[in-house]
Each structure stands twice: as C-alpha cells, then as structure tokens.
Symmetry: C2
Subunit: 260 residues, 2 copies
Amino acid sequence: MCQLLGMNCNTPTDILFSFEGFHRRGGLTDHHADGWGIAFFEGKGCRIFLDDKPSVESAVAHLVRNYPIKSQNVIAHIRKATQGEVNLANTHPFMREMWGQYWIFAHNGDLKTFQPEAGCHFNPVGSTDSERAFCYLLEQLRSKWCSAPQLDELFAEIDRLAAEIRQHGVFNFMLSNGEVLFAHCATHLHYIIRQAPFNKAHLVDDDVTVDFSTVTTPHDRVAVVATQPLTDNESWTQLQPGQLLLFRDGAPLLVSSGSH
Amino acid sequence: MCQLLGMNCNTPTDILFSFEGFHRRGGLTDHHADGWGIAFFEGKGCRIFLDDKPSVESAVAHLVRNYPIKSQNVIAHIRKATQGEVNLANTHPFMREMWGQYWIFAHNGDLKTFQPEAGCHFNPVGSTDSERAFCYLLEQLRSKWCSAPQLDELFAEIDRLAAEIRQHGVFNFMLSNGEVLFAHCATHLHYIIRQAPFNKAHLVDDDVTVDFSTVTTPHDRVAVVATQPLTDNESWTQLQPGQLLLFRDGAPLLVSSGSH
C-alpha cells in the first residue's frame, strides 16, 4: 500500500523530521519501491520533487532531507504501484491549476472500476486511477464554480464527491491549494496536532528524537497527517472511514461525520 | 534581461554541459539574480526545479548540475524581474495540463500592456505578464480545439497568437508539450543543431570543453536554443524577429517567415 504524508501549519515549518521517518518507508522499513514525490507550497507557488526511483536511493530525496524548505502546506507520497506502470507521469503528487490556484493531490488506495468520461477542463496525463480521480474531482468542482467558493461549500462538495468516488474502491487522499489541506480517510489515516507546550518526539522508523520546544515559538501550530503514525511516543488520532477533514492554520477547521 | 535555454533531442540526452554555462548567467557572468527554473520531460511526465534564489547559490542548481537527468525536451529560465515580485509563484517555467499533456512555458521580455480577461480554463497564479501570456495562449488553443490538433494547424495558430501578443511588448518564449519544442523570437534567440560528426564545444561563460563524439552515438541529434550562444567555437543560427520554430527529434520541423 502507498503511504501518504501531509502537513498544514500556521507558520512556515520544515518537514525534515517527519520526512526522515516517512522516506524510510520507501524501501527500508516497508515495501514501497515504485517512486515517491513531495510538494511544498510557498505562498501561492508550489515546488514539487518527483522521483520514480525508490526513495532511499534517490538524489532528490537527499536534497529534500538536507534542504530545509519551510512551507505551510506539504503533501508527500510513496508509491506502491497497483495501476499504471512505474514512470514519472504516474508519480504522485499531481498538480493542476484551478481558480488561479495550484491544487496538489496524492492518493493511497485502488479504484479499479473508476473510468469517468474525459473532462472539459482537466484530463489525466498518466495512466493511474489516482490521477483519473483527481481530474474528475476538479472537473466537478470547476463545473460547479467558475471561481473559488466559500470554504464550507467547497468542503461539503468534496465530501459528497469523495463518497461517490469511494464506491469504486479504496480512496484515501490528500488535497491542498496552499491555504488549506483536505484529508480523506477510506481505510487508514492518522493525524497529530503539535502546539505549545512542545515535547520530544521519537520516530517509529528510525532511532531519531527531536525536541520541538527548541525549534518552535509558542504560537506555532502544526498538523501532521499520515497513513500510519510516524512517532511512537505521541498520541495520534485515527480518522474514521469515510471521514473528510479540512485543516487550516495547523488545526482541523471542518470535520465530516464519516461514512454516509 | 532574462535568459532562456531549450533543448529538443531525438534521444534522451543530459543538458549538463549547456546548463553549466547557462547557470553561470544567474549571477556570475551576467545579472540575473531573481530566480531560475528548469523543466525536464521524461516521457509524458515532467520534472520541474524552481528556485527563487540566484542560481549560482542554489542547492537545487547543485542537484541539477550533478544529477544527469536525461530528457528529450528541456526548458530553463533565469529571471530578471520586470513585473511581479520575486517569489516562487512568479518563477518560470510555468506548467499547465491541456489535452492530457503537460505544457511548459518560459518567457523573456516584457509585456507591459497585456491584460487579457480571465480565462475559462486557464488563469495565472502569480503576478507576472509572462504567466498571463501563457494562460492566454493556452486558453485560445483550448477554446479552438477540445483535443490536440495536427501539428501544422497548431503551429499556424501559435504563430498567429504570438504575433498578436507581441503587439504588447517583447515576447521571446519557449513552449513544449514533451514531444515538440516551440521557440519564438521577438528580439534575441539562437539555436544550434549538434549531430554526427560530433566535435568539441567550448563554453563562453566558463573554461570548459566537451568532446561530444565521446558521449554520443552516430544517430543522436540535439537542438539547443538559447537567448545568446553558449559556446564560442560553434556556429549558432540567429532567429529572426517574429519568427517561430518548431523543433522535433532535434531539428526544426516547421519555421515561420518572421515578422508579419
């Protein structure tokens, strides 16, 4: 199964600690050897690093681990190919522009029977079920609104579309426009909010500990969302199947009730 | 003035030699300190490295210089900001998806008076004249064709749109969908075709020589397009103002007559 990682913060924050544990799931501690990618928003702009090599071997992973890019919204993905061959066009996260904003999407799961019609605005470049679902999701949103709607309306519509798409299989996903992070759970997704008073955290995948109190200010708040908890001494919250969360400024702002 | 660099080849080729000279124009041998970017197509997929720091200082430039990504189509840009502040959203190249293909665009020039209406399909995220022109160009193409047209029709329409947009200022640009490379000259653009028998080439910006005969096969053909010639011992062809060229498999396939 693929691994998802998302971060949403109230101040630009580096993801080095979480990425340190996460990237090890690309071939060392777990079997995800079909590529990986990470997208960092910086203001309205977005920087994406994609690699169709296993992440433990990658020169790009080395750069990301050593280059402390600070971002308020990050989405990362390690791929275990289920549909579509292993190549760059099939590597998550995917990006499109809608409403003058970049939208970033990564998916964990398998949508075997999902074959929507070609879109008017958005079409897949690669051959994955994931990119098909992303394009379908944006196509429906763009057809409904010519410019960005209110957040609560957008949340309700994405919740409805996620319920529709997950009829076709497993649909855990993360989606961000650089302001907010949507996290949808079909099977496995966990999150944690880190805020003052900050404590030490210890990675599951590596014997690394960080004391966040030494690298934060009292006003910082960071939400980290991942397929499986990345630390073994903190209390992660498990999302319910069918649940959609919207994070803004490092905390859940809107939460749906789950399967319906 | 910004600097453009493009490469179109008949076999995946690394751009390390040309980039070595080109990136030095990002602060050492020329004054272009407002960021840079490079996009590499690999099949249908595209990998973009963007940096809003001067390219001679950048960790990302270091990666690109030492990581021999092989590609059939590359577009790179060093920015000298004329419109729009220096930030990631304003850093070239820009990317959009159209007709199930990624399209990459970079611009050199200044389109002071170009303020097209908001598009139905494509809208700028940042605040540059360049991204406005890119979105306008794609908007017109997408409005005319719902799926990719024949290359000669596409070429004629881009030639027409380039003539329209350059009424608003200086509009040197490069555009690629991963299969072909369009190069449009308003003021300065030069190209060279390298093919057997391959010779030595020596960079203008650095005392570096490469003997291409040692790193190529007899069937390789590579077109390199740049604002100014990158080597001082080869014969570069200067494009005419108003001229559009379409490169495929390392050679010009379609050439317009220039200003009209």
